[in-house]
């Protein structure tokens, strides 16, 4: 739909401004206190550079997993109708409710080396997930998937089903209709979901440290660096925080500006 010149009421602007200031102010605080002089030095440390690339890999892989699993899941929640649907919908939200550290523990119970599934993975395939990059991706996916699913679901319930009917009428199979009509119409929701889950995964700490541990080569993402720094060297922590903000700002501005939101 074309956005028209319907002026946005002043009340809305006021509310939005308060909301924005609320979100902005802490970052102003952060950048005020950050010891900028050591910024370049810290950011170019080899270990920080490794964390940056690890973070990007983990966040991107996890956003990708969310895409693959979240679209069908959101779709089913929106479109299907079966007994227990409510329960499924609530379970999908659980990883959001549980503090990430607890989620990480739950992941260990299930997929850790002694977990009820993990032990078979280990003994049958020799696969161990904890303390590997794959484990970090899994932990990040686990906490960010619900965000993706909800984003899809709330849009999918509002799709005009006559468009899908028209596609079927014109001979496209249901699966083709899904990919050529439904998905493109969900574009905004998918993009919002990617942004949500990517951002959530980038900042993921609790589940990662618990399930995947802090391995400098495999799992030490920026949030882990930040956390360790918080314990020992708060200035360094601030720099890493600012760095994360800058990375996500630049990625999100670029992505969303160019193709994430289509009005």
């Amino acid at each position: 739909m074309e956005t028209q010149h319907n002026s946005v009421p002043k009340t809305i602007w006021a509310g939005a401004s308060i909301g924005f200031i609320f979100l902005l102010v802490p970052f102003v605080g952060l950048s005020q206190r950050a010891p900028w002089s050591s910024f370049v030095q810290i950011v170019t440390e080899e270990t920080v550079l490794r964390s940056i690339s690890l973070s990007m890999i983990v966040a991107t892989c996890s956003a990708f997993i969310c895409l693959i699993l979240g679209i069908p899941l959101g779709w089913i929640l929106a479109k299907a109708d079966f007994r227990g649907l409510k329960l499924v919908r609530a379970i999908v939200l659980l990883p959001m409710v549980l503090p990430p550290v607890a989620g990480g523990t739950a992941l260990l119970f299930a997929l850790g080396r002694k977990g009820f599934i993990g032990e078979h993975l280990d003994s049958w395939f020799g696969v161990t997930l904890p303390f590997t990059t794959a484990g970090a991706v899994l932990a990040a996916s686990f906490v960010s998937l619900p965000f993706f699913v909800l984003s899809i679901e709330s849009s999918a319930t509002q799709l005009d089903s006559r468009l899908e009917e028209a596609s079927l009428n014109l001979g496209a199979s249901p699966i083709r209709t899904f990919f050529t009509i439904s998905l493109p119409l969900l574009r905004n929701a998918i993009m919002a979901g990617i942004a949500l889950s990517w951002a959530r995964a980038l900042g993921e700490f609790g589940a990662t440290i618990t399930f995947a541990g802090d391995n400098p080569d495999q799992t030490r993402t920026l949030p882990l660096q930040l956390f360790v720094a918080l314990e020992t060297n708060p200035e360094r922590a601030m720099i890493i925080g600012v760095l994360m903000v800058m990375i996500s700002l630049s990625v999100l501005v670029t992505l969303r500006g160019n193709w994430l939101v289509q009005k």
């Binding site: 260990l108 541990g213 708060p234």
Partner: protein, 220 residues
């Protein structure tokens, strides 16, 4: 993995000192040391779940006992390599004029949660000194106590002497040295032979000197 590398899991409070010791050890032996820091109990959980590790160094003995039950530590004796005790820390200038624990009353104060070693120690200290300790916030670890003091958010708190920085003012408590926490170190089962070397290095005069430099107390 080659024998020339070693994985050490250490309690967060050991971060700086173990980084120092590890780099000295590397210089001496050429063995690469990979350090992972986390709260003692997280480390315990990781060990239980099979985290790859050769050496584990914790901030209290109880946690080590828990790790032993997991069966990944079969060594008979635990080796204490350092001790630590608490002091009052206040923001620079001590704005609330705190002199001892009884001054906590009516001020905003932070202490570790009773369930973590430093909080346990704080409670012991208070009962040893027979004072009532009024606490605003029970922090999950000693570093977050310190951070809140550094930021001036709390007027006073209890931290390990080893955690003192130049961002906080330290007020020592008379008699607090007698309420100590002990740091055990142990090699994990199936550890590389060099694990023993690392432990020995920590216990060696060189290692002990470094620990002392970071204000840790001697093992006994």
């Amino acid at each position: 993995e080659s024998d020339s590398s070693l994985r050490v899991l250490a309690a967060s409070s050991l971060t700086e000192v173990f980084q120092e010791i590890a780099s000295e050890f590397e210089k001496d032996t050429g063995i690469q040391v990979t350090l992972s820091f986390a709260g003692s109990s997280s480390l315990a959980a990781q060990i239980e779940d099979g985290a790859p590790a050769d050496v584990i160094a914790l901030a209290d003995e109880e946690t080590l006992t828990r790790v032993k039950q997991s069966g990944r530590l079969t060594q008979q004796e635990e080796i204490i390599f350092a001790t630590n005790y608490l002091a009052i820390a206040t923001p620079i200038g001590n704005p609330a004029s705190i002199g001892n624990i009884s001054d906590f009353k009516g001020n905003i104060t932070a202490v570790c949660s009773e369930q973590v070693p430093c909080g346990h120690l704080a409670n012991e200290l208070a009962s040893f000194l027979k004072v009532e300790m009024e606490v605003t916030t029970w922090e999950p670890n000693v570093r977050s106590v310190r951070t809140k003091i550094e930021l001036g958010e709390v007027d006073a708190g209890l931290i390990y002497v080893t955690d003192a920085t130049n961002q906080v003012e330290i007020i020592s408590i008379k008699g607090s040295e007698s309420v100590k926490t002990k740091y055990p170190i142990a090699a994990v089962d199936n550890a590389k032979p060099s694990a023993k070397d690392f432990i020995d290095y920590v216990l060696s005069p060189n290692g002990q000197e470094t620990l002392e430099h970071f204000r840790f107390g001697a093992p006994q």
